[in-house]
């Protein structure tokens, strides 16, 4: 069994994945910006302190007095203290906690950065940069990053929702069409503009599936219609003999005690005849049903000439006014396997006898007295053909396939001489095809009459579609 398709919401999955990616990117961006900002501002402070220290060295060389020097060095957030070699101190600074004088170098603390530098005249300079300014800037930057990040996230989610909806709208179209088809709105297709995209492939496959299903549905409906037609035809065909049986039986019952015995005998005869006709029809219908379900054939090498002679004998008895001949002919092209008996087919003799019997019955019914029926057996490559010709009025070209349909008679109103129910030829063709052969009604040429060609295989693996035979 196919496992159930996982069908979590595609839209939700795409949106959640998108949002996660955006959040990660924004976080990374924020942290990087923060770190870079901090590093840069540290470097700026260092540079600024060093420049001022160099400036102080120059001022000392220019003999600028300590107070003036401090005034020039100090700026907003930058305080300086100058300790002269004699110990006097100028300037006032707030030293951060934990500061240890080292004589030279830069020390960083949270609130401040401190630079110590001995000057050329022996005095020592101490510069203190207040860090609160820088910290406030960093805080502002962080708040800004957070705000911008949130706005960007909101916009991105909104855009994602819209884009995903638009991108997935072909799926909604597919759903709508599938529902319409399920409701019975046949013949609709997605007809994708491109078949090399994901949705295009899905839509193409969907269309193919609907094509296949509608084709199968159409075939099933056609077959059901044919079956219904067949059942209706069969019921109709059975109704006539059954009406006869019923009427004759009633007439026998209602004939009075004074009725003539001759009349009663005649009624009994008709009763039996109609009952047999109905019985034969039921038998034929059963044979047809069996052929359609698959025949169980006992294939043996079968001499078709012998079979045809036996059936011809029966036909002569039934119709003394007809000339019935059976013969064997050489292969039309002259080429022939020397080991092969010209008239032997690999077939079920009982079934083939039924085909020949039906063909001769058909010829007998359609050939007026004085006419001739000829059955000729001849080899044709891997097949043997039996050609049955008569001198009746023949079959019009458009009817040559139709006569093999079940329960078909060519007259709309039934022809008087036809004893059968129109199943004989359908049965004969069904048996021939079950053997891998065929039965066809072909153009008799200028000779006229009806011409039937039965093709049967001579080997178990003869090709299943026989070549179209040529005719004498």
């Amino acid at each position: 069994m196919t496992p159930a398709l996982r069908t979590g919401s595609l839209r939700r999955r795409v949106i959640v994945a998108g949002v996660l990616v955006i959040v990660a990117v924004l976080l990374l961006l924020g942290v990087a910006t923060d770190v870079l900002f901090a590093a840069q501002s540290r470097r700026d402070t260092d540079t600024m302190l060093r420049q001022r220290a160099q400036l102080a060295e120059q001022f000392v060389r220019q003999q600028i007095r300590p107070r003036e020097l401090l005034r020039r060095l100090e700026a907003a957030g930058v305080n300086a203290r100058l300790t002269l070699p004699d110990g006097r101190q100028f300037g006032d600074v707030v030293l951060p906690p934990g500061f240890e004088p080292q004589g030279r170098g830069v020390q960083r603390f949270d609130q401040a950065t401190v630079l110590e530098r001995p000057l050329p005249d022996g005095s020592r300079l101490l510069l203190v940069v207040d860090g609160s300014e820088r910290n406030a800037a960093q805080q502002r930057l962080r708040r800004l990053l957070l705000l911008v990040g949130l706005i960007a996230l909101a916009v991105a989610i909104l855009a994602l929702v819209v884009v995903v909806r638009v991108a997935l709208s072909p799926l909604d179209a597919m759903t709508a069409m599938a529902k319409a088809i399920a409701r019975g709105d046949r013949g609709r297709r997605l007809s994708p503009t491109r078949t090399d995209t994901e949705l295009g492939r899905a839509a193409g496959a969907f269309d193919e599936m609907v094509d296949a299903l509608e084709g199968a549905e159409h075939a099933a409906r056609t077959s059901e219609g044919l079956t219904r037609q067949f059942v209706a035809d069969a019921a109709h065909e059975l109704r006539t003999p059954i009406a006869g049986v019923q009427a004759a039986a009633e007439a026998v019952l209602q004939a009075g005690p004074t009725g003539s015995p001759d009349e009663r005998d005649r009624m009994h005869l008709l009763l039996v005849r109609e009952a047999r006709r109905a019985g034969r029809l039921v038998e034929d219908l059963l044979v047809l049903a069996r052929i359609e379900a698959g025949l169980d054939l006992h294939r043996v090498p079968t001499d078709l000439v012998t079979l045809a002679r036996a059936e011809a004998e029966r036909t002569r008895l039934l119709a003394p006014g007809l000339t019935v001949t059976v013969g064997a002919a050489p292969a039309p092209t002259g080429e022939r396997d020397p080991g092969q008996d010209a008239a032997t087919a690999l077939a079920d003799p009982e079934r083939v006898a039924q085909i020949l019997g039906n063909l001769l019955d058909n010829a007998r019914r359609h050939t007026p007295a004085g006419g001739t029926i000829t059955a000729t057996v001849r080899p044709a490559g891997p097949w043997v053909e039996v050609i049955v010709a008569d001198t009746g009025r023949g079959v019009a070209a458009p009817d040559r396939e139709r006569i093999f349909d079940r329960l078909v008679r060519l007259d709309a109103a039934r022809s008087a001489d036809s004893g059968g129910a129109g199943l004989g030829l359908a049965i004969a063709r069904g048996i021939a095809r079950a053997h891998g052969g065929d039965l066809r009604c072909v153009d008799p040429g200028p000779v006229g009459g009806a011409l039937f060609v039965l093709t049967l295989p001579t080997t178990p693996n003869a090709p299943t579609v026989p070549v179209l035979p040529r005719h004498p």
Partner: protein
Amino acid sequence: MISQARVLVVEDSDAIRAAVLAALRDAGHTVEGAGDGSGMERHLDTFRPDLVVLDVMLPGRDGFALLDVVRRHSDAGVVMLTARDGVADRLRGLTAGADDYVVKPFVLAELVARVAAVLRRMGRAPSTVEVGDLVIDAESGVAVRAGAPLELTATELRLLSYLAAQRGRVVSKTQILTAVWGYDAYDPNLVEVHVSAVRRKLEIHGPRLLHTVRGLGYVLRAGPT
């Protein structure tokens, strides 16, 4: 003796034609049969039927075509007989001018009754039958003997109507059973019981009309046995 009609049966199935002819003959009609359209045309001029029973599925021209021929050549009534039971076919038959339509397989008695009904509508057959001083009107369901109405049950009336239709002819218990009770029951005692009931009611008003013919059956006849 009332006048019975001339009926032509056109049907290609031998069994059905023979059975219908026998049944109509038993009902007192003069009958003739034909197997196809040309046979029918021959009989139209020579036999001059009052009514034609016409099969639809015939060799050569079908029943609808022959219906036109009948209508052009005579004023005979037509009862169509067919295995086609499609509504379209029935409508076609009736609009084409058939007087009635019977679908195969049919019960012979029904066909005979429909033929009689069409003949009555055409005025060719009176609905009353007289046997001596007994008058039976099957349509209104009234039986009168010597001017006095008889108190009959429905079954007794059907029995008396059947015997009157076959008047002067001996009918067996089986014939009576199948004609009056149909084919679903078979009990000859039914016949005896009802015959004696009808006989008793008839003889209140006059001499015996319903006679027993030993070994054969019954006959409805005025005058001496």
